[in-house]
């Protein structure tokens, strides 16, 4: 084996060598932007310099042929400079506005949708799922592909009251993050424990410590040191599964999908909010998850019809109230929507404010 050299601990690279020269020149000195059409942004600097951005959706998990194709498009139709957004859209920056339409055509011809700006439904932030995660309850890229097929029009048009950010997560850890609409696995049965393996695989005290409801305790099972779960206390969150894989939480039938709405991280208008549960019990129905798509589309259609300009999902719901949300969307309201976690009283209606 060749002699190993110590790593060069260079950290996060300087973006300047890879940044469009107009953006380098006007760094920190921008003064205006507009939104000429869906998927296109226009920015003007104090110097009068201008730059156009064309935003395209990608599949995020990309083969190198796709990446090279995107790079070739940047050379042939753009200025050779791109960036990616936090939601895996690719942005092409060009200093000449006449390049915008040919660039859009080149991207469309190769199958990349143009959109995701302003009051559209942007690409779904997602996770790894069955492709690469060690604890996934479902897939990620597949769920997103299936949903974005359904929401394609909402990505390429800007017809929502305000922007819609979505996420998917393949377990309750929610790596996909907070969103206007979040699609998250919700387990419904306690872990099935393989007692033969626990002693060798798991550090039992730290597994006990991970449980949010103290439902796990050390036990001797069939003469072997293992763990047992008080199934009456267990909330099926799956927190014990990562540190102890023999506590299998994923179940093809009983790991369901829940839908949450009203998360927002922007400070615009209302303070940032966490998303809230609206639906659960949906089947993990690979490969296209039609039941999930149906609920998501129902929520989006209701928001689109009823929301006022600039209202994010949570702004709209705050205005009309949660009873109206459930009525207008037709989603059932259950006892599981009532928060009984610590601090849950803060989410009760401690007032006589009721709409009739």
């Amino acid at each position: 084996m060749a002699e190993l050299r110590p790593p060069i601990e260079s950290g996060a690279p300087d973006p300047m060598p890879y940044m469009h020269p107009v953006m380098v020149k006007n760094y920190g000195k921008w003064s205006f932007h507009s939104h000429p059409k869906p998927g296109v942004l226009y920015h003007r600097a104090e110097s009068g310099d201008e730059i156009w951005t064309v935003k395209a959706g990608t599949q995020r998990q990309m083969d190198h042929y796709t990446i090279r194709e995107l790079a070739d498009i940047a050379d042939q139709y753009g200025d050779g400079f791109v960036r990616f957004t936090a939601r895996s859209n690719i942005e092409y920056m060009v200093a000449d506005g006449s390049k915008v339409e040919p660039l859009i055509k080149a991207l469309n011809d190769k199958g990349y949708p143009i959109g995701g700006t302003a009051n559209s439904v942007s690409m779904i932030a997602h996770t790894q799922g069955w492709l690469h995660c060690d604890i996934p309850g479902t897939d990620a890229s597949g769920v997103v592909k299936a949903l974005m097929d359904e929401l394609y029009d909402d990505f390429v048009k800007c017809e929502m009251p305000n922007r819609v950010k979505m996420s998917t997560s393949c377990c309750e850890i929610n790596c996909g993050g907070q969103a206007d609409i979040a699609i998250i696995v919700q387990h419904t049965k306690p872990p099935k424990i393989n007692h033969d393996l626990v002693a060798n695989v798991c550090e039992r005290p730290s597994v006990v410590a991970r449980c949010p409801v103290a439902a796990i305790r050390p036990a001797l099972v069939n003469g072997k040191p293992s763990l047992e779960v008080d199934e009456k206390k267990c909330i099926c969150c799956g927190a014990c599964f990562p540190p102890c894989p023999p506590m299998q939480i994923n179940d093809p039938e009983h790991s369901k999908i829940a839908i949450w709405v009203g998360g927002k991280n922007s400070n615009a208008r209302s303070k940032p909010t966490f998303h809230k549960l609206v639906a659960a019990g949906l089947p993990n129905n690979a490969p296209r998850w039609p039941e999930v798509a149906e609920v998501v589309k129902k929520i989006l259609a209701t928001y689109k019809a009823d929301g006022k300009p600039w209202e994010r999902m949570i702004d709209w719901i705050d205005r009309i109230g949660w009873p109206a949300f459930f009525e207008k969307t037709g989603l059932p309201f259950t006892k599981y929507h009532i928060d009984n976690w610590r601090g849950g009283r803060a989410n009760l209606n401690a007032s006589a404010h009721i709409r009739f």
């Binding site: 260079s10 996060a12 890879y18 920015h43 960036r83 936090a86 690469h132 991280n265 300009p309 610590r342």
Partner: protein
């Protein structure tokens, strides 16, 4: 040509139709001349059939580092323990830090592909993971070092994994946005690149994330997704470009101005008044609308939510006295439920070398406090929940400020022997601020 058979994939095939770009089509393209990807597709199809995942973790690394690789070994084996999809039996990911702001040239993209493919990588790359890493997905244990060496030699470094400082994200910010209130890329690189030991040699109680957003629109979700959020803001008045405000007004008129701007201000800091009734004082931003009316913003009551700036881009702009607010404790679900970052520094300047050094010191102090005081697998937000924000502030030697709370406590369960001393601290703090 691939050394492995191409499996029938009736489930995955259904993800090739429809208008959105298909990752399955990409996987299949790779599988034609890459046995690892052919077998990977076999395993993925099995997951779709059984609705189960089949990867387990392990320990794989590169020389000199303790983290940054996500090891994956297949659990799909026959009775004799032989992998069903042998060439994908090891399918590790390298997490690699992108240029701050995720800027790339076409040449850089090709170079990253070349290094990946030429050194035994699968050819699959995700731009980007949820913490902002470029994820090079699919490499055997044997080839991990070669891929890393290749990437390292063209200026790239591994990101974080495990109980470590994690790869960071900053918004596009100064590079292309008029809302930007500080140099996000410089802040990211200052804080991250001065603390790389905690990224490459995981020894913290649990993960620690920094994120940098240029304004309170918070496009990289610093408040919810980072242990320490640096969010741009300003102290002085909203700047007005009257011509651009009038451009907006000409297109939209009084009804939109009222309903979309005035009516949506969360603190009712915006009014429309006849020009001759405009109150001219040091804290009011004024834009004449050209029809005898004027838009007035009471900056003393503006909370920098960004809404009116978003609706009238360029017409209303962040002030000149820019800086950042620092919030700590944002995190996801486990174990106490998601927590939002909360204010610990309402405002600090971030312009000079000294300012950036101060940010760097603050970041280091928080990391140190976290390393010393958090329990195993406890995030900063959980630690603060356990010990209380006051204790955290005392430990960090940060003075209390009413901007840190939504409202004062409503219960009497506190012991205040040293009330007078605390009042004296407040008086001193006020004097220093003055």
């Amino acid at each position: 040509m691939s050394t492995r058979p191409l499996y029938d994939t009736p489930m995955l095939d259904q993800l090739e139709s429809g208008p959105w770009p298909s990752f399955v089509t990409g996987l299949k393209r790779l599988a034609k001349d890459n046995g690892m990807m052919a077998d990977l597709i076999g395993q993925l199809e099995t997951s779709y059939e059984t609705r189960k995942g089949f990867w387990k973790g392990g320990t794989v690394g590169v020389f000199g580092y303790g983290g940054g690789i996500i090891p994956r070994f297949t659990e799909l084996k026959d009775k004799s323990g032989k992998p069903l999809f042998p060439e994908a039996a090891e399918f590790h990911t390298l997490r690699v830090q992108p240029p701050a702001g995720m800027h790339y040239t076409s040449d850089l993209l090709r170079k990253l592909c070349d290094v990946w493919v030429d050194n035994g990588g699968s050819g699959l790359i995700a731009f980007h993971g949820q913490s902002g890493d470029i994820m090079f997905q699919g490499v055997s244990s044997e080839n991990v070092q070669a891929v890393f060496n290749g990437l390292n030699e063209i200026g790239f470094d591994l990101g974080g994994a495990g109980p470590a400082l994690r790869t960071s994200m900053s918004c596009v910010g100064s590079a292309r946005c008029e809302m930007s209130c500080f140099d996000e890329a410089r802040a990211l690189r200052t804080v991250i690149n001065n603390n790389l030991d905690d990224m490459h040699r995981p020894s913290l109680p649990y993960k620690f994330k920094f994120k940098f957003s240029g304004c309170p629109n918070d496009c990289v979700n610093a408040i919810q997704r980072s242990d320490m959020a640096t969010i741009g803001t300003w102290r002085d008045n909203i700047r007005v470009n009257e011509a651009l405000v009038q451009d907006y007004y000409k297109v939209h008129g009084m009804h939109d101005l009222y309903n979309d701007v005035v009516g949506r201000c969360p603190t009712k800091a915006i009014t429309v008044v006849p020009e001759d009734q405009v109150r001219v004082d040091a804290h009011t931003s004024v834009a004449k609308l050209g029809d005898g009316n004027a838009l007035c913003i009471d900056n003393k009551n503006c909370v920098r939510c960004m809404h009116c700036l978003n609706v009238i881009p360029g017409g209303l702009l962040p002030g000149n006295d820019k800086g950042v607010s620092i919030l700590v404790g944002g995190k996801g679900v486990l174990k106490i439920g998601a927590t939002m970052g909360s204010v610990i520094i309402p405002f600090m300047k971030l312009e000079t070398d000294e300012d950036f050094e101060k940010l760097n010191e603050l970041a280091r102090n928080i990391l140190d406090f976290f390393a010393e005081n958090a329990l195993d697998h406890e995030r900063t937000g959980e630690m603060i929940e356990r010990i209380g924000l006051s204790n955290f502030l005392e430990g960090m030697d940060i003075p209390v400020d009413p901007n840190m709370i939504k409202e004062p406590r409503s219960n009497p369960y506190f012991r205040s022997d040293d009330w007078d001393e605390q009042v004296a601290k407040w008086v001193e703090y006020r004097q220093q601020a003055a």
